[in-house]
Every structure is written in C-alpha cells, then in structure tokens.
Symmetry: C2
Subunit: 320 residues, 2 copies
C-alpha cells in the first residue's frame, strides 16, 4: 500500500517547538495506527515523563466539561502548558460530538499553550484503547506540563482512566450518586480526589458526608497512604476551584514524596507494553487465519478430530 | 498445588450417560479454569457437534426468561433434551441472581432431560468470556439436542452471543426499542429471528413494522440469504410460541441446506482457538512480569530509555 510517508524527525521537532498542527498530526497517526508510529514513539521517548496526567471522570451531566475548563484556566494562570484529551469510550467516532459540546472551551481554543483533542477510543479491547496512552506520550513530549484526560464514566472506563492518570478526579453531583452507588460502581477505589459539583443543589452535603463515610471505611487510612479528600464545587460559577487545585497540588506532592508516582507510571508502562505485545501476537494469529492454517484447525475442532486446547497449542507453536 | 484430582474419563462417561451432577461438575471445571480442562475438552471432542445452539438476547424486561421457559416446553414436547445456559455478562458471580429470578423455570428443574445452568461470564475480556463456548461443549457432549443461551443485552454481549449461536433470537418489547434503536444497537445485523414480546401492549404493530422496514433496508435481501422474520408473542400466555418454533425450524433448515451452519461453526471454533491461544500467550507474558523482566522494560520506558514498541518487541522475542 502507498501509505503517505511521514517525516517523523521533522514532525517531532515541530511538535516539540510548539506547533499545534504537528501535535494534531501525531495524534492522528496514533488514531490511525499508522506504520510510522513505532518511529514516532521511539523519537518521543527521550522527551516524555514530564507531564502530570490528571484523569477526570464522572457520569454524564455532572459537569465534567465545565470543571475541566475551569481547571485549565487555573493551570494557565500559573503559566502551565496544558493538554486536554477528551476520550469518548462509547463512540467509534473521533472529533465530533465531544468538541461540539464544549462551547465554553472556546476560551482556550485560541491559546497556543493549550492543546485540545477529542478522541474516540472504542478499540478491539473495548473502553479506553491503548491509543490513549500513546496520545498522552505525544502531548507529554510536546511539552505539556499538565494533561487533563476527561472521560465519561461508563462501564469500565473510569477504572481504565485511573490506570492512565497520575491523579484521578471523580466528579459527582448531588442526588446522582451517593456513597453507596459510588461504592457499587467501584469508583471509591480509583478516586484520588472526589469533587461534588453543583454543590448549590439540595443534597450536596449529604453526598459529601456519604462519600467521606465510605472512604473512611476503606483501607486507605494507614499513615503514609493517601486519603482522598472530598471537595464541593459549583464549576459553572468557579466556586471551589481553589480547593480543587489545592487538593491536586497536595496529591502531586504526596505522589512525589512517596514512591507512588513511580509505581503508577511503571504499572502504566507495563500495561502499555503488554497491550502492544498482545496486539502484535494477535496480528500474527490473524496471519495464520490468512494462510488458512487456522481454518484447518477450526475444521478439526468442528469435526471432533481435535479440541480447542490442542488446536490452540498448535497456534502457539506456530507463532513461537 | 494440591488441586483436587479429577477422574476425567469417569466424569465424561457419567455426563454422557445423563448424570446432571456430572454435567454440573464439568461446567464448574470450566468456570474454575481447572487444570483438568484440557483433558476434559479432549475427551468431549468426539461427542460434540450434535446440539443446535440458540442464542436469546434482549434488554432487561423484555421477557427473556419467560420466553426461554415456553421454548423449553415446546422442545420437551418434541422429546428433545434441552440445555439452558443463562449467562449474566454484568455479574462477576455465578449461580445466584439469575436462577433466583426464574421461578417459572421450576416447571423444568426436576426434568432429567433439562439441564439448567446460570453462569457469570465477566472475564478478562469483558462480556461473554470464552468459558461460555466451553460450557456449550459440555452440554453438547452430554447429549443435548438443543441448547438455549440466554443473555441480557448489555453492551457487546448481544454481538458475542450471536457469535456463539447457530440461531440468534433477539427479543424486543413495544416501546422499549423501535427499529431505529435496534439499528443503533447493532442488533439488526445479529438477529436471525426477531420476537416482539408483550405484543398485547400498545405499539406492538408499530415496532414490528419498524423492524421489518429496517430489515428490508439491510443487505440480506439477495436470493439464498436468510431474511430474518419478525414474530409477535405474549410469552406469559404462550401466544405466538408456535410461530417462534416454526421460524426456528425454518432457520435450522436453511442453515443445513446452505453452507451457513458449517461456516458459523468454523468461525466459532476459530474464535475459540484464538482466545485460548491468546490466553496462553498472556499467561506467558504474566510469567515475564513474575521474573521482573517486564518490570525492567517498564522502567526503561518510564525513564525514556526505550519506547513501548521497542519494549513490546522484546516481550514478543522473549516468548517466541
């Protein structure tokens, strides 16, 4: 195939020099699983590890976009370069819906120190695919100090976003999810910081109390461990933003002073390596399908001459 | 480890002779991923391929359990041995919830020619795990003529149940899903037969009309291809059951007279082999984690000395 050739060194240099077009092009290469990706990732590697990744998740309607926007403003006021990755785990399409929504984001759209990207992520594996960590590498190498990964909390995506982030913020709204629902959804385990947004509504204090109670029942009360704070905000009016930023700063401090940051990043890299290795092995199996040897094995199983384990042994033997 | 030893030949012989306890024990071995499974599957292989697998899916509340029960009754009236696998893709637990619900199933619980099993299936891969096809092999080798796999339509599970079944029945109810919603959910492509249950409710005819219209827009109108019928039922009163059975019979006939049945089963066996091979490879990667070589690679990536692709190459090389 005549894949459009890519001048990787030039593109990476341009991204590092602050070209939003180069950054956008690199993320498109990630989304397209372009053959040049290997070279891209190798070129980016020495420049990664600087950005602090903040994951932001919550059910639809809790105010994720508004909260993200106010946080971006706060980081910009500190002179930080900010990347925003809006990941929609329920959509097979990129670009459209999420960015369309975020009228408020227009404050930042023209700011050259802010990169905004909306990604679809429903890959073979469901949920956040392994393209998301690669997009994070692009933004990281492009000099972002902070990257906000915003994702709708659906199914497993919250847990996955926590796997990607250094700091995970879980947003809730009064009456939408009390402590028990949070516990059921498994979000108590993943949040480093809980934000009860729309705190001017009835029931906000009850939600905060429930969350604090549920957190106190968890096993994160040992000294030295991080105990997730619960903060109230009214993001649409900027209320509580200072408290959120203070809590994030404290978490960053805790991460750096403990071994937690390195542990999280090692786990993240391990998962990413594993996913790429598995994808490589899967494509080798697909080539067996192509040359019909998998079909022959399948016929043996259907006709009762073999069983799936014996056939799988042959597949593994053919690969290794 | 001192795994409880299993007398596989005796167990398989007992299952083939019609012992429900032996069947239950074999399916438990599947659920536990017991080391004896390989031997079990090898012993079952020559006895598989007889059962016709019917997948039954639909949103919560459309009447899946009731419909399954009436169909079981119809197959029993024909003297068929029937297996029922109720798979709950949303639950990590086996046995409890689904069977607890199905009070109506008690008509069949004491029937020695009916095997009922409730399985959790949320595995590493999400949705229906690869334990389901193995449980199907057990029921098949145990002499079931028909196996009904019932699963709640959540996320990808409908598509997955279609991959397992010879005949896929999609249940809808009036007002719960019209044709357009069905198209969005991707169920138009997977249904071999659509059943609009609770057809005594308002809107049933409109739902039927919508579905027929959407089906007519599909690409399954060529001669020789199967065009999915749409049938109305009121399962709770047994209405429409004859029509469902007639449609199933016609589909079975079409599958056998075309190459479709073999194609579906080859595809199913191929997927199963692939899943087992991938699991074997994944566990080899896990052993790399255990001996710390994956940790070293992850550290290289975190420190920018390597990138995930180069590290993944080393993982693949270590396996092969």
């Amino acid at each position: 195939m005549a894949a459009r050739s890519v001048d990787v060194p030039a593109l990476v240099a341009a991204a590092r020099a602050g070209s939003p077009r180069a950054v956008a092009r690199l993320i498109s290469l990630v989304e397209d699983a372009h053959p040049a990706l290997r070279e891209v990732m190798a070129a980016l590697a020495p420049h990664t590890g600087h950005a602090h990744v903040i994951g932001l998740t919550g059910s639809p309607g809790v105010g994720k976009s508004t909260s993200t926007t106010t946080m971006v403003g706060a980081f910009r006021a500190r002179g930080k370069r900010v990347g925003i990755l809006a990941v929609d785990p329920s959509s097979p399409f990129s670009g459209g819906a999420l960015l369309g929504d975020r009228v408020r984001m227009q404050d930042h759209v023209l700011d050259p120190e802010v990169y905004i990207r909306s990604m679809a992520s429903r890959g073979h594996l469901g949920g956040l695919s392994w393209t998301t960590p690669q997009a994070l590498r692009v933004l990281d190498a492009a000099g972002c100090d902070v990257i906000l990964v915003e994702t709708v909390g659906v199914g497993q995506s919250e847990v996955e976003v926590a796997g990607l982030a250094d700091t995970t913020i879980v947003l809730l709204a009064p009456g939408m999810g009390d402590g028990i629902q949070a516990a059921k959804a498994g979000i108590l385990e993943i949040g480093d910081l809980f934000v009860v947004n729309k705190a001017d509504r009835d029931g906000a204090d009850a939600t905060v109390r429930d969350l604090r109670h549920m957190i106190s029942l968890g096993d994160r009360t040992e000294p030295g461990l991080w105990r997730p704070p619960v903060v109230k905000t009214v993001a649409a009016r900027g209320e509580g933003l200072d408290d959120v930023m203070e809590a994030v700063d404290k978490h960053v401090e805790w991460l750096s002073s403990s071994s937690a940051l390195r542990q999280r990043r090692l786990a993240r890299a391990g998962t990413e390596i594993e996913a790429i290795a598995m994808a490589a092995l899967r494509s080798r199996i697909a080539s067996l399908r192509h040359d019909e040897s998998l079909d022959r094995l399948a016929a043996d199983v259907v006709d009762g001459r073999s069983d799936p384990y014996a056939a799988a042994d042959q597949v593994v033997a053919a690969l290794t």
